[in-house]
Amino acid sequence: MKKLAYYPGCSLKGTGRAYDESLRAVFEVLGEPLEELDDWNCCGATSYMSIDKREAYALASRNLALAEREKADLLTPCNACYLVLEKTRRHLADSAEMGHRVRRALDAVGLSYEGDVRIRHPLEVLTRDVGEERIKEAVKEPLKGLKVAPYYGCQIVRPYATFDDQYHPQTMDRLLKATGAKVVPYPFKTRCCGASQTGTLPEVGLHLVYRLLNEAEARGADVLAVICPLCQFNLDAYQSQVRREYDLEPIPILYFSQILGLALGIPAKKLGIDRCVVSANRVLERRAAHAA
């Protein structure tokens, strides 16, 4: 496996800290400890791209240049970072003009980028490079009986489906199955979580959150597994608000890496499970019950 430079992005240093903690712990246990990219900067997120493309590409490409200097690929857990960096990588490869402008910008700060960096997601690395077999072997506390609904969100499969199916992604399903959990059929796995509309247009955003939660409940899921800090935030932090308007049972929202970590026997505290707004105690209880 080519060396990986871990690019947490801003969310994983803030609201998504549990994602950062659990990923580091999981990769550590699997014998592939994460090394953070030195001096990384903001990816620009989706908003910068719509304001000034040239500056947005230049900003994002700095991270590609830093990784290239390390002869590493970027490991990018946040869906938004993943999309922006992947889009930048493709655009620089396809557009000679933009490539030229960006190279000039990089040159000004003594950097260069030749196009030799892949953007990789933990789901891809864990299924392809590490492999389910190694993960199954490392599972210490199988999550037998835990019913998980896998929710991928939009940016990891649209518009580019780089490592999984666009409409019917499977990589997280496979990882969750490797933990011994039961993956329930969840047809809304790539539908919208409301994104920033939970804040700007709550009547639209909250309804979208409701639909996802309601479907998970209808499928009998104990927990929703997510891979994006914004999805996690919407489904978790807005859940009480949604429940005020709709008749729903509370359901914990965990990063797939937290669930994987529990199966690998990593203490809940180290996985940031206590950072959830909606209590994940029912997941922990199930693990405890199984251990006993």
Partner: protein, 687 residues
């Protein structure tokens, strides 16, 4: 000297200088009259003129040595265009002709004809392709024009060295090979056989009939497909002029128009076809008490045994054994109950593959299509939810001889109460196939009608556009609409199974006519899968040396005027291998392909290019270098004279010997050294 006679329209402009002695060039052929070249630059409507400045090309051509006249014209291939060449030859005493227009594939014959009509040997002509090689592939007018001038200069320099040549006549074999035994191949084979020609009909499956045999009714008349197809299938079997070969693949094609040598491989069916009468007692006797393996003809909706009849109407009506599934082949320890049951001793476990060579004059490709694999569009749920079907599966369900005897029931045996039909699955979709598959609208309406008739279910058609361009098609659409089928204009976004809905599916769809998004529950969802080239089309294309268009369909010689010919002489196309078609269109095209093949073979001979090689006896040292290199065994060594001799009947003009000859004593007509050198010089001379 400027000529001022005009050719009527005034669109013809002379840019001519009498070039016989221009620049003081000496005549090139000692003792022969001086070279007088006519150059004609075609606009091809705007195809060339839009990007290439044809007037400038003509002007530059007029300034070249030996050019007597240079003209441009809107359509050189038209009658007036050809007439212009003829008259110029007669009036200006031209003795070489250059036409700068399209590909020689299209019009070399036309202009050679015009050259001959003017009284010259047709090989005093050279064609320049400034359409495919310049105007169509470039955007910059200036450089495209420069390139056209370079190409014209090359041809002018080359044509000066052309010699008078005679075409060769070779006989055409009257037999025809038809590849593929669907309705296209069957129609072509029968047409040729009725005309008294012998046909080899090669089919890779165990029975002929193709996709049409799987269908229930045909749109828009609702004729029973089997009722109209089966008689044709049996006619094929019975016709004395047709040799039917099933389970046979074409592995090699050699030769050329008029005399193709085709190597075919007969895969073993482990049954003596001449003995088996299709009584099926062997199937009853098989150690498998009931079917265990997916039946291909029923698209997996029923099970069959390892020994089976391809389908009830199969032609030939002969069983076969699948060696991958039969216990005798896997373990060698079967009780062989089938063998005992067969009182005609037709079962041959040790039958082997057999290779045979066929000699034919023409070939008709009728290799058909495959349906789009619905798993490639997983948002429609095929392969994920059991109640999502492909249209081909439903054809089998509604068919009286199908797995349910014509009952439309779900996999659990229940009758559906609401059925959705999604149009354009794998068609008109940038992610999968961009083309319209042409037949899906009509077959979807047909299935809607049949399902309504058989189940009284609510039927929803989800369509982008309804396309009904055919005789009686629009009327059929109106009829189905009047029957109460729901027609919802919009693309289906997603399909999923309800959490507690007993397999019920929810279809999320935009209804663009109502201006809303709808969620429609159905028990059964049918995907109107499109048509696409067969997975091995590329391999087949190579075997037969024909071309494919970018999307993978076999390519016709001309989209309008040569729709059944290919760029390989003597190879014709019929049916869906060339693109999506319905049955009437396929039958019409198959008839046309057979007609073209007949027109070819009834001429009895073909004229071949005189592009063969010959040895200049006094220069040959008899080193024999060329002899093993010739792919056609056309070179012999004359021991008495110690020199090589080329049989011009066998020579195909590949040029290998010419390049290899150490003493340069082999010359190839139309590719003589001087012709090539001058052409290179002409294209490189930056003027």
């Amino acid at each position: 000297m400027l000529r001022e006679d005009g050719f009527g329209s005034g669109s013809t402009r002379d840019r001519a200088v009498d070039g016989a002695t221009v620049n003081g060039d000496a005549p090139l052929t000692n003792g022969n009259p001086p070279i007088r070249i006519g150059v004609y630059v075609c606009h091809c409507g705007t195809n060339i003129a839009r990007t290439v400045d044809v007037e400038q090309v003509t002007e530059k051509a007029g300034e070249l040595p030996n050019v007597t006249v240079a003209r441009d014209y809107k359509y050189m291939c038209s009658d007036p265009g050809q007439e212009m060449i003829k008259e110029d030859i007669e009036e200006l005493g031209l003795n070489r002709i250059v036409v700068a227009s399209c590909s020689p594939n299209l019009h070399e014959e036309t202009f050679r004809g015009a050259t001959a009509a003017g009284g010259l040997n047709p090989f005093f002509f050279q064609m320049v392709n400034i359409r495919e090689h310049a105007s169509w592939v470039h955007e910059d007018r200036e450089s495209a024009t420069e390139k056209a001038i370079d190409l014209v200069r090359a041809a002018v320099q080359r044509v000066r060295h052309h010699r008078a040549l005679e075409t060769r006549r070779v006989p055409i074999r009257p037999e025809v090979l038809v590849v593929g035994g669907g309705i296209a191949g069957i129609t072509a084979a029968l047409t040729l056989a009725h005309a008294g020609k012998h046909v080899y009909l090669v089919e890779r499956e165990a029975s002929i009939g193709g996709h049409m045999a799987q269908f229930d009714k045909t749109f828009p008349t609702l004729d029973c497909a089997a009722c109209i197809l089966t008689p044709k299938m049996t006619q094929v079997k019975a016709h004395p002029n047709i040799t039917l070969m099933t389970m046979t693949d074409v592995v090699k094609v050699e030769g050329f128009v008029g005399s193709y040598e085709v190597t075919v491989k007969h895969r073993p069916r482990y049954i003596d076809v001449s003995l088996c009468v299709g009584c099926q007692q062997c199937i009853d006797a098989c150690v498998y008490k009931r079917g265990k393996f997916e039946d291909e003809f029923d698209v997996g909706l029923s099970k069959r045994k390892p020994i089976y009849l391809p389908n009830a109407q199969a032609v030939p009506q002969v069983v076969l054994i699948d060696p991958e599934q039969c216990i005798q082949f896997s373990s060698g320890k079967c009780k062989q109950t089938c063998l005992e049951a067969c009182d005609r001793d037709a079962i041959l476990f040790d039958q082997e593959e057999r290779v045979e060579t066929l000699e034919v004059g023409a070939i008709i490709m009728a290799t058909g299509f495959q349906t789009f694999d619905a798993r490639r569009s997983p948002h429609y749920g095929y392969g994920i939810y059991p109640n999502v079907y492909t249209a081909l599966e439903v054809e089998r369900l509604v068919n009286a001889s199908g797995p349910t005897g014509g009952e439309v029931v779900l996999r659990d045996g229940e009758k559906p109460t609401s059925v959705g039909i999604v149009h354009c699955v794998g068609s008109r979709d940038q992610k999968t196939n961009p083309w319209c598959s042409k037949v899906c609208c009509m077959y979807s309406l047909k299935l809607a009608h049949l399902i309504k008739e058989k189940t009284d279910a609510e039927v929803y058609n989800f369509y982008i556009d309804i396309r009904t361009p055919g005789k009686g098609f629009e009327e059929f659409y109106q009829r189905v609409a009047a029957e109460g089928t729901h027609l919802i204009r919009g693309k289906v976004a997603s399909v999923y199974q309800q959490a507690d809905g007993d397999g019920e599916l929810l279809v999320d769809v935009e209804d663009t006519l109502a201006g809303m998004v709808r969620r429609i529950p159905v028990d059964m969802l049918i995907l109107a899968v499109g048509l696409e080239p067969r997975a091995d089309a590329e391999e087949v294309r190579r075997t037969f040396n024909i071309t494919c268009s970018g999307d993978g369909w076999f390519m016709e010689r001309h989209p309008k005027l040569a729709p059944v010919e290919t760029f390989t002489d003597g190879v014709y196309l019929a049916g869906c291998c060339q693109g999506p078609k319905d049955i009437p269109e396929t039958v019409a095209q198959a008839g046309a392909a057979a007609g073209q093949a007949l027109a070819l073979i009834d001429r009895a001979y073909i004229e071949l290019e005189p592009n063969t090689a010959h040895v200049i006896a006094e220069d040959c040292s008899g080193c024999k270098t060329c002899i093993p290199l010739c792919p056609y065994q056309a070179i012999l060594h004359d021991d008495a004279e110690n020199r090589a001799e080329i049989n011009e009947v066998l020579c195909k003009g590949c040029g290998v010997c010419v390049a290899a000859c150490p003493s340069g004593s082999i010359v190839q007509n139309l590719f003589e050294d001087m012709e090539i050198y001058e052409e290179i010089e002409g294209v490189l001379a930056y003027a």
